[in-house]
Every structure is written in C-alpha cells, then in structure tokens.
Amino acid sequence: MIARSTRATRRATAVAGVAATAALLAGCAQELPTPSADEPFTGPVLTLDQEVAVVEDVAAVLEEAEAEASPKLLRERVAGPAFEVRRSQIEVAAELDDDSFVTRIPTDLAATIIPTTETWPRVSYTITQPTENLEAHRMVAYQQESARENYKLWLWVQLIPGTTMPNFADPEAIGSEAVAADDDSLEVTPAEALVQYADLVAQGDDSDYADAFELPEDSQDLVKRVQADARNLRGSEGFEEADGRYRLTYAARDDDPVAVRTSDGGAVVMGALDGNVRIDVEEDGSIAPFTQTQTALMDGDDETNELYVEYTDQVALYIPPAGSGEPVRPLGYSHDTVTAANEFPSERNTDREEPEESEESE
C-alpha cells in the first residue's frame, strides 16, 4: 500500500513536472511590442546643430546671391523685410561695385534663441559674433513660415553698442516661447511698441511716446540717427533760403513683427519700420542725393527740386513685462535706403489704410 501510494505520489510529481514544462514552453512565446509614444516634445524645435546648419545655409545663399549680383537667388533663404533690404543692398553694391554696402551676417554665433513653437510660423534668432571689422553684434531672425518651407532670413539688426541684452531661455534644453504681436503680458504689445517707436523715430522728442522709451545715452539708435539727419539737413546752409521742406514719415509694418519671450517675462520684438523722406525746395532749385546709396538708387535720374527717399528700417526692441513700469528699450536697428527718386510718388511706403503715420513737416 505504502509503495503504491509513493508510486502514485511520484506519478503525480512527474505529471506536475510535465505540466510545469508545458507552462514554461507556453510562456516562452515573446509578446509583440506595441508602440508607446514618448512624451510629446516640449523643448526647442531645433537643435543647435540644426540652427547652425540653417545659419550656414542662409549665409551660403547670401554669398551666392551677392556674388552673382542676383537678388532672385535670395528667394530660397531670404524673405520679408530682410529680402527687400538685401535686394537693395545687392543692387547698390553692384551699381557702385563696392560690397561694403552689403551687410555682413556672420555665421559665428554668440547666442541662439530657439523657439518652442509647435505650429507655424516659427522664428529662431541668433546673435552673431562681431565681424573682422569689429562691426557690432547682429541679431538675426530666421522665420519658417510653413512646415514645407525652410527657415529664411527674416530680419536683422545691428545691436546698439553698449546695449544690455536681456537673457533668454537655454536654447538647447528649454527653448524660448514665441510672443504674439498682440500679447498683453507686456508693458505694451509688440505691435504697439513698434508703432510707438515709429512715431518716436519720426518726431523725436516731440513724440507722445518719448517717455515710454529709454534711448541709449552714449550710442546712436535709430531715433537719434534719423533725427540727427533731419537736423543736419534742416540746419544746412541755404536750406531755409531755398524754401526747403524736409518731411519725415515713419510707420511700423503691422504684419511682420516677431517676438520672443525673455527670461524675465518680457519680450524682444523685431520688426520693420517703413520710413520716407520728402525733401523739396523752391521750383528752380535742385537737390542732390545725400548718399552714394541714394545716388545709386536714383539710377541716373536728373536732379529735381524734389527728393524722395524710402527706408526699410529693421529694429529690435526690448519690452519689459507688464507691471514692471520699465520703459521699452531699443536694442538695435538697421537703417537702409531702399528707394530714391527725384519726385514724390503718389503712393508711399508709409501709406496705411488707417494712417498711423506721424509726419513732421516744416
């Protein structure tokens, strides 16, 4: 009996062993993995390498277009205000056979500002190292208008010497938030800041917004420069006698501003201002272009008693966060003549449907 029971036990053990083996076998089949999406991206939309590639690609296109004196080539990598300015620069440089009229955009970067924008357009910014000629740092904006387009040079400014740049988020780990043109978390919306700045440029200290801006003490910003030009001309000899008039108009482009958040909650806005100068003297007088650029742009037209010059000025402003009570600071500008003519056109670049232009005439 005992023997039989032990035998039975053994048999049971054996059966259990077989069952265990079978179970092991069954469990051995590896399960198919299913895709598990990682956490969505939250950081910068470009890596530093990609940004550098963009910068270098743009620089290559700039160089080629300049070498070929063919602004068409710029289309691939340049757009917006930068395109207009660059086209003008290339034409002038070709006319004068002097490439010093073309702004250098170095590829050596001092800083990058990468957006976190998941939609389009996206704008990334770089701050370049000074060129060999010790020109100022430049802040450059590259905009990708749609997913199927590449980043294109959109705006650039020369930073005002001595300006303190605000801090931006780490471009590699965090990225910077884009700020809408009508963002109200700032002392003044980016779009409005540009409008006010345009007024300030045109009217100088007489502007209603003069107090809202803190202009650099020691350096020249766009306001100072334009106003200085105006003063110089008005004060020039014989201008009064010739019954000369110097009318300066500036207006912000309302569709171009790009803005990015700074670390302190403020923003840097970059945009373009359209400006024009109408100068006329008495009927039998004549006005010569004031600069080589203007001369080149006149394209050999005779001098008349009228001179019309258009500017496309790219500017960068720092707007402090709302409630800080701080003034807006100009960070940089690029003052470029894009048109010169010997008569006033019927339509000017500062024309707006709702004219926000501020005019100073005398």
Binding site: S36, D38, P40, L46, V54, A147
Partner: protein, 489 residues
C-alpha cells in the same frame, strides 16, 4: 521493478529536458534580428511611422526603404509634429505597429484625418485624388537626419527621447508634368489597370519600408529546462539505484536459503568445501550467478563438481570468445580438471552448454572449485580462514562455509562486481526484463560444491590474474603450475 522503470523513464525525461533547454538556447533560439516590412497602402507616396514604432523592439533600428527601379526615395526622421505638419493633410500611409514579427501594420490616412493624427485611420478613400504629388521632403531644416538615394536607401537610427517619427517618400524620377497627365487619366478611369501600371513607371510611389532591429533574445527556458532536466535525471538515477539496491537485498534474502539448501544437499563435501564464498558472490555481482549450475550443484552436489565445471569451462572460451576476462577464468579450470579427482558428473557440462549464462558464470566460480580442491593444501585453507574474517564483511557467507575467501579472491570479485556494475545498461535492461531474480539462487550452489577442491590452485590463478598475465597463457600456466604443484606434493 516499477521503481527502476520509473527511474529509467525519469532519466530519459531528464536528458530530454536538458537537451530541450540547450536547444532553446541554440538551434531553437529566435533570430537576433527582427525584420519587419511595411507595405504601403492608400494613395500617398509617403509612409510615416507612428511615434514609438522606430524603437518598438530596440533603440537601434535600421530602416530600409525601397521603391521600384529608376525612382528615388527619401527617408527622413523628424519630430512627429514637424512631420505631420509637413504632410499638411496630404494622404499618407501610416505604420502603426507590428502585426507579427515580420509584418508592420499600415493604414491609409486621408487628408481629413491627417489634421488629427489621433483619429482612427479610415480605409483608403477612393474619392481621394490619385497620386498626390508631394514635394521632396529632403532638405528641410526640421529633419534630424535624412537620406536620399535611388531605389533603396538604408538609414540607421538610434532612438532618443521623444516621439520621433520616420517619413519615407517616393519622390519619383519622372517629370512632374508627366505625372500630372497620369493623374488626369486616372481621374477619368480610376480603375484602369493599364493606366496605373504606366503610372507606376512615371509616378512616385510609396516606398516599402523594412525595419530591422537587433533583438536581445532571451533564453528563458535554458536554465529552467536544464535544471528541471537535471532534477529529473537525478531523481531517475536515485530511483534506479535504490531499486537496484532493493532488488539486491531481496535477492540476497533468497540466495541465502538457496545456499543453505545447496549445502544441505551437497552434504559432507559441501560442508567441507564450504563454498560459502559463492553465496556472497551472488549478492555482490548478481550477474555472475550461474543459474543452471545451481540446480546441478544441489542435485549432483558432490565434490566431483569441480571436474565437470572445469571441463565445461574449457569449451566455453573456445566456442564463444566473450569478454577478455571470460576466457581467462574459463580456461583456468581446464588444467585443474585433469588433476581433479573430479569424476565429472555428466549433467554438469550439459547444463553448461545449454545456457550461456550458466557456462560463463560457473566457469568463473568453477575455477575456484578445482583449484581449491586441487590445492588441497591445508596451509592455504588455513590462510584463507585466517584472512577471511578480516577481509570479508560479516554478512558474507564465507564464514558459514568455514572457508573464507582469500584477499585476492575478494579483490577479484570486487573487480568483477565493478565491471558488472559498470555495464549499467545491461543491468538496467536485465532489471527491466526481470530475468535476474531467477539467477541468484542458482548462483550460490555450484561454487559451493566446486570450491573446496580448488583451494590450492586458486592462489596461483589469482596471482596471475592480479598481475595481468595473458588469459590463455594464464590458464595454461595455471594448469602447469597446478600439475607441478600437485606433482611435487
């Protein structure tokens, strides 16, 4: 019996389990690489993997995209948002996962859904415009990596954090306007097979994706199976051994009475010869017992045994050369025979011939008999007696016989026993066949009878064997020695 059978079964099962375990880690082991293919579906020329597909099996993936000959294919990797944004609602095929280890699941995404990548992909919509030409994705600033080549392109991707997706696009080699014509044709005859065939020549087509991962193949069964097998093996061996022991024990129990009976039957000679050594022999080496001999012994019983045993032994080696040791032992008796007073009884040799086992076994024991008998010198016997207690175990019947085995004999028996034990298989089989039980009783008897006469020659024979003299020569020598010995004496 059953125990031993079970033991054997367990041993086999254990070996099988071990073999299986090893096999899972070798021949049955799954491939180290997973190669999964995605066939494009839908109207688009683009195939896009879902986030998480690239690192489905392993972080390192090699993606191979191929298109028909003469066309170009581009593969890029980008952030999911960027890729979907780039697609801008154009139809594409979406790779959603693995259907099995060799196939990727794909689903067509139509423009409406593309806006919401989370939506359930619908079947390709026939109303969708055919052959939507997408621009070449190559050259976008957004891609982390991109490759373009004719017909086939292979891209290695090492996954990094984030929902990276891969986009493969057939960019076509035909001019765009040609493709447009094709598109128009298909607009009118969407189902025209010919048009589509032509189109495939000219238009970009969605590439076929092949994702290859290195996979770490675990061998989860290796050690469990080997362990289990080892366990079974061990258990089986234990069962077999234990079963064998039990059998021996039981056999010994039966052998003892048989010996007693034999002794009784043999009468005086048996008592004199005290063949007891045989009794112990049987338990030690169950194989050795000569079944036929025993009945003979009990029957014929007398000292004459020796002679017949010897005679019988002689033919054995001649007829059947067996193991090396067999002839030796078999021949040994030969020389003895003549000297033996042994008026051989007829029945013995006959019995020996009938059964091989009987032939062999008795021979082994037989030699001892004649030798003993022949030697007859009291010295030897005494010596034996003296030695016996020391070398033999208490249980050994040797004592009962009164003539203990010499040390040499014991040693030899032990060797034989070992030799027998080594051929485990035969033992096991015997155990299975169940023939053994018959043997033991027989075993004991003949030697009993035979032993006493063998005494003197036995030492010489044992000596020869110990020192490895040739079997046949040993036999001859033994006979000579014995004769001389006898003569001198």
């Amino acid at each position: 019996m059953l125990q031993r059978i079970l033991g054997a079964v367990l041993v086999v099962a254990g070996l099988a389990a071990i073999a299986f375990g090893v096999a899972t880690a070798t021949v049955l082991r799954e491939s180290d690489t997973v190669v999964a293919t995605a066939r494009p579906v839908g109207d688009g020329t683009v195939v896009v993997t879902d986030p998480g597909v690239l690192d489905l099996v392993d972080a390192d993936v090699t993606v191979t995209a191929s298109v028909p000959a003469g066309q170009e294919v581009t593969v890029v990797v980008g952030r999911d948002v960027d890729v979907l944004g780039w697609l801008e609602g154009d139809p594409y095929a979406r790779v959603t996962g693995l259907a099995d280890w060799e196939t990727l699941t794909t689903s067509a995404v139509t423009p409406e859904e593309a806006e919401d990548p989370e939506a359930e992909p619908a079947e390709g919509d026939a109303e969708e415009p055919q052959d939507v030409e997408l621009p070449d994705p190559a050259g976008s600033d957004m891609w982390i990596t991109e490759l373009t080549a004719a017909e086939q392109v292979s891209l290695r991707w090492n996954d990094r954090p984030g929902p990276w997706v891969l986009l493969a696009a057939g960019t076509g080699a035909a001019p765009a306007d040609e493709a447009d014509e094709e598109a128009e044709e298909e607009g009118t005859e969407a189902s025209d097979a010919d048009a589509q065939t032509e189109a495939s020549d000219a238009d970009a087509v969605a590439p076929t994706l092949e994702l290859t991962w290195e996979r770490e193949v675990s061998t989860p069964l290796l050690w469990p199976a080997v362990g289990l097998g080892g366990l079974l093996l061990l258990l089986g061996i234990v069962l077999v051994v234990v079963g064998g022991r039990r059998k021996k024990r039981s056999r010994r129990g039966s052998a003892a009475p048989a010996a007693g009976a034999a002794a009784a039957a043999a009468g005086a000679p048996s008592a004199l010869s005290g063949d007891s050594p045989i009794a112990p022999d049987s338990p030690l080496s169950p194989d050795s017992p000569a079944s036929p001999a025993s009945p003979l012994g009990s029957a014929g019983g007398a000292s004459p045994w020796a002679a017949p045993g010897a005679e019988q032994a002689r033919p054995t080696p001649v007829e059947e050369p067996g193991g090396a040791w067999e002839p030796a032992t078999a021949t040994r008796p030969d020389p003895v025979a003549p000297e033996d007073e042994g008026s051989g009884t007829a029945p013995v040799p006959v019995a020996g011939r009938f059964s091989r086992r009987s032939r062999l076994r008795p021979t082994r024991s037989a030699p001892e008999v004649p030798l003993h008998d022949e030697g007859g010198s009291p010295d030897v016997v005494e010596e034996h007696q003296d030695d016996a207690p020391a070398t033999t175990t208490g249980s050994m019947p040797a004592l009962a016989d009164g003539r203990p085995l010499t040390r040499r004999e014991l040693r030899r028996r032990e060797e034989e026993r070992r030799a027998g034990a080594q051929s485990g298989m035969s033992r096991a089989f015997r155990a299975l066949t169940g023939q053994t039980p018959v043997v033991p009783p027989a075993d004991a008897a003949p030697p009993e009878v035979a032993d006493p006469p063998a005494a003197p020659g036995r030492r010489a024979a044992a000596w020869r064997e110990t020192w490895g003299f040739d079997a046949t020569s040993t036999a001859q020598d033994a006979s000579q020695d014995e004769t001389t010995e006898g003569g001198t004496r």
